[in-house]
C-alpha cells in the first residue's frame, strides 16, 4: 500500500512540474550548501589530523604567546637560546629544535617579493625533515659551513613565484645578500611551505640583524616519558627561568595533541556557524514546501472528496500528502547532494590549480550524504504535516462540493 502511495505521490509531483521544481530549489540550495561546506570542512580536518599524525604525538611545541603568522611576534614576546637551553635540560626531552622563521625581501634579477625564510642548523633540519617526511628532490641539502647557500621551496623552481626561470646554481637575493641555490625541496602542498627559503640559522640572524631569537621550539619526548607531563615540566621551568607568574606567561607550551585539539575545536566552531547559516536556507526551503502543499490541498479539495467517497480513510489522505511533501524534500535533497558534491569538488579543483593548496579537499563521507538525504526527507515530511492534516480532516461532502 505504501508503495502505491509513493507512486501516486510521484504522479502528482510530475503533474505540477514547474511548481515542484521551484519548491525543490529551496531545498536543494540548502542541502548543496550544507553538503559542500561539511565535506570541505571534513577534508580540512582530515588534512590537519593527517599532518599531526605525521608529526607524531610525542612532540611539544613552544611558541611566544600572541604569535600570529610566523615571524610576526615583536617586542619582548620572544623565545631565546636561553629558553632552548632550559628546555633541553628538562628530563624526558630527547631533543629540542629551535627555528627562526622570518619575513624578508627576496629578489631575483629585477623581480622582488616578500617571502618567508626559515633558519635551522643543518642537524636540526635533518631531524625535522625526517619527522615531516620532507626531502630534497634536486641538488643537495644544507650542510655544516654552508654560508650564503639556500635550499628553496618547490614553488620557487616549479611554481609561479618568479617569472624568470630559477634553477640550481642561480642566485636569490635575500635582504640584500646573494644566496646560491643548492637544492630544491619536494612539494609539501601548501603555498607557505612551498615558498620557503631555507638557509642556515646563523646566516639568517646575521642577514636580518636578529640577535638571539627562536620563533618556535619543537621538542621530541623520550619514549619512556609521558608527553603531557614533560610539557608541564617545560612550562614550569620556563616560567621560573623567565621570571613569569602562572597564568601570565608570555609563551605557550602545547603537545601536538593539544594543538590538534585546538585546531579541531576552531574548525568545529567555524563549520558549525557555516552549516548553521546553510540550515537557515533549509528552513526557508521547508516553508516553501509547506506553502506548495497548502496550495495543493486547496486545489485538490474536490479530488480529496472523491478519494474519500471511494473509500479513502483520513489516514490514507494524510499519508498521501505526507509522502508527497516528503518526496519533494527527498528529490530536492538528492539534487542538492549532487550539486553540493560538485561545488566541493569544484572548490577543491580551483584551490588546487590556482592557489596550490591541498587544504581544501572534499571529503565525501557516506555519513554526510546519507545524513543529508534523510534530513531533507524529514524536512519535507515535517513541512507537509499541517497541510496533510488539513486535507485529511476535510469532510467528504464539503470537499466534493468545493468548486
Amino acid at each position: 500500500m505504501l508503495k502505491d502511495f509513493f507512486v501516486l505521490g510521484l504522479n502528482n509531483l510530475k503533474r505540477r512540474k514547474l511548481r515542484s521544481w521551484l519548491t525543490m530549489i529551496g531545498i536543494f540550495i540548502g542541502i548543496a550548501a550544507v553538503v559542500s561546506l561539511m565535506s570541505l570542512g571534513q577534508g580540512l580536518q582530515d588534512y590537519i589530523t593527517d599532518e599531526f599524525e605525521k608529526l607524531g604525538s610525542d612532540k611539544i611545541i613552544i611558541q611566544p604567546k600572541g604569535m600570529g603568522p610566523p615571524g610576526s611576534a615583536g617586542g619582548s614576546l620572544i623565545l631565546t637560546s636561553k629558553d632552548l637551553k632550559v628546555i633541553e635540560n628538562v628530563r624526558g626531552v630527547e631533543w629540542a629544535v629551535g627555528f627562526l622563521i622570518k619575513q624578508g625581501q627576496a629578489r631575483v634579477g629585477d623581480e622582488s617579493g616578500i617571502g618567508f625564510a626559515s633558519g635551522l642548523t643543518p642537524e636540526d633540519r635533518r631531524s625535522l625533515n625526517e619527522i615531516q617526511g620532507w626531502g630534497i628532490i634536486d641538488g643537495r641539502d644544507l650542510k655544516k659551513g654552508d654560508k650564503f647557500k639556500v635550499v628553496v621551496g618547490y614553488n620557487h623552481i616549479y611554481g609561479d613565484i618568479w617569472d624568470k626561470p630559477v634553477r640550481i646554481g642561480s642566485n636569490i637575493e635575500i635582504e640584500g645578500y646573494d644566496f646560491k641555490i643548492v637544492g630544491v625541496m619536494g612539494k609539501i602542498g601548501n603555498p607557505i611551505d612551498d615558498g620557503l627559503l631555507h638557509v642556515d640559522k646563523d646566516i639568517l640572524k646575521e642577514v636580518l640583524g636578529v640577535e638571539d631569537e627562536e620563533s618556535q621550539i619543537m621538542v621530541k619526548t623520550s619514549p619512556s616519558f609521558d608527553t603531557e607531563e614533560v610539557a608541564e615540566t617545560i612550562e614550569r621551568k620556563l616560567r621560573k627561568s623567565r621570571g613569569e607568574k602562572e597564568k601570565q606567561e608570555t609563551f605557550n607550551v602545547q603537545t601536538s595533541e593539544q594543538l590538534l585539539n585546538t585546531f579541531q575545536n576552531i574548525f568545529a566552531v567555524v563549520q558549525g556557524v557555516l552549516v548553521g547559516i546553510a540550515a537557515i536556507s533549509l528552513l526557508v526551503g521547508g516553508i516553501g514546501i509547506m506553502n506548495t502543499m497548502y496550495t495543493s490541498v486547496v486545489e485538490r479539495t474536490k479530488e480529496i472528496g472523491t478519494m474519500k467517497a471511494i473509500g479513502a480513510k483520513n489516514s490514507h489522505v494524510l499519508m498521501l500528502f505526507l509522502i508527497e511533501s516528503g518526496l519533494l524534500g527527498l528529490v530536492g535533497g538528492l539534487i542538492g547532494v549532487g550539486i553540493g558534491i560538485g561545488l566541493a569538488k569544484g572548490a577543491e579543483y580551483i584551490a588546487g590549480i590556482y592557489i596550490g593548496t591541498p587544504l581544501l579537499q572534499a571529503s565525501m563521507s557516506p555519513v554526510i550524504i546519507i545524513g543529508a538525504l534523510i534530513f531533507s526527507f524529514v524536512i519535507g515530511t515535517l513541512s507537509g504535516v499541517l497541510p496533510a492534516l488539513q486535507a485529511s480532516r476535510l469532510k467528504p461532502v464539503d470537499a466534493l462540493r468545493y468548486e
Partner: protein, 236 residues
C-alpha cells in the same frame, strides 16, 4: 457501537425520518426534512426533483458522505449515523459505488489506475486489482482506453470509467448523482442503459436526476420537493 436492526426481508437501505438542516446565516435551511424510504436489494430507484429540492443531500446521506441532523439511516441493517468516520470510509469503499455528474476522475491517473484506486484503499493485491480493473473497463467498452488519461477521453468515456470505478470493489449499492448531467442525450442514454444492465445483474441502484427521461429507466421514482417526498411512482 454498531446498531443492528432486526433482519426482516431483503431490504438494504432504510431512511427513517431523516432530516438534514443547514445554518445559512441566521436562517435554517431544511434541505431534507423527515424522509422515510425503504429500498430493497436489487431495486433501481430514481430520486427526482428540481434543483434545491434536497435530492443530492439525500444521496450524500445515504452514501455516508454526510451525517443527518436527525433520523436513522440503515445500510445493510447497520445504522450508519452511529458510526465513526473511518468505519464510514470502509462502508463507502466496500458497500457503495459512487458515480458523479462531473465524473470526478483523478486527472493524473490513467483510466486503468483510476479504476484500481478504490481497490488500493481496500488493500487488494496488485495483480488482482489490475485484472479486475481491466475486466471492468472491458465491460464498459473501454478496453482500448486503458492507458488514457481522463483529459484524453470524451465525456461519455469518462463517465464509463467512473462507472467501472464504482464497480471496483463489487459494492451492493451504486449511487449516481446526475450521472447524465454533463452528457449529450445519446451518451446519457447509453449510461442510463448501463445502469439497467447493472440492475439486471442484481445491483441496487439509486439514481439522482432532474431528467425524467433518465429517471424512467428506474423501477421506482421518488419525487422530492423542499426536502420532503412529494410522491412515489413506479412499476414495482
Amino acid at each position: 457501537m454498531v446498531e443492528r436492526k432486526k433482519k426482516t426481508n431483503n431490504e438494504i437501505i432504510r431512511l427513517k425520518n431523516v432530516a438534514k438542516w443547514y445554518k445559512a446565516g441566521d436562517e435554517i435551511v431544511k434541505a431534507v426534512d423527515g424522509v422515510d424510504i425503504v429500498i430493497n436489494k436489487g431495486d433501481f430507484v430514481a430520486i427526482v426533483g428540481p434543483s434545491g429540492s434536497g435530492k443530492s443531500t439525500a444521496m450524500n446521506l445515504v452514501g455516508a458522505l454526510d451525517i443527518a441532523t436527525k433520523g436513522d439511516i440503515f445500510l445493510d441493517n447497520i445504522n450508519i449515523e452511529k458510526l465513526h468516520e473511518s468505519d464510514l470510509a470502509q462502508i463507502r469503499g466496500r458497500k457503495i459505488g459512487f458515480v458523479f455528474q462531473t465524473f470526478n476522475l483523478i486527472p493524473t491517473l490513467t483510466a486503468l489506475e483510476n479504476v484500481t484506486l478504490p481497490m488500493i484503499f481496500q488493500r487488494v493485491p496488485y495483480e488482482e486489482r489490475v485484472a479486475r480493473a481491466k475486466e471492468l473497463l472491458t465491460k464498459v467498452g473501454l478496453d482500448h482506453r486503458l492507458t488514457h488519461l481522463p483529459n484524453m477521453l470524451s465525456g461519455g468515456e469518462r463517465q464509463r470509467v467512473a462507472v467501472a470505478r464504482a464497480l471496483a470493489n463489487d459494492p451492493e449499492v451504486i449511487l449516481a448523482d446526475e450521472p447524465t448531467g454533463n452528457l449529450d442525450t445519446k451518451r446519457g442514454e447509453e449510461v442510463a442503459q448501463m445502469f439497467n444492465k447493472l440492475s439486471d445483474e442484481g445491483k441496487t441502484i439509486i439514481l439522482v436526476t432532474h431528467d425524467m427521461y433518465v429517471a424512467k429507466h428506474a423501477d421506482r421514482i421518488y419525487k422530492l420537493k423542499d426536502g420532503k417526498i412529494e410522491n412515489k411512482s413506479g412499476r414495482k
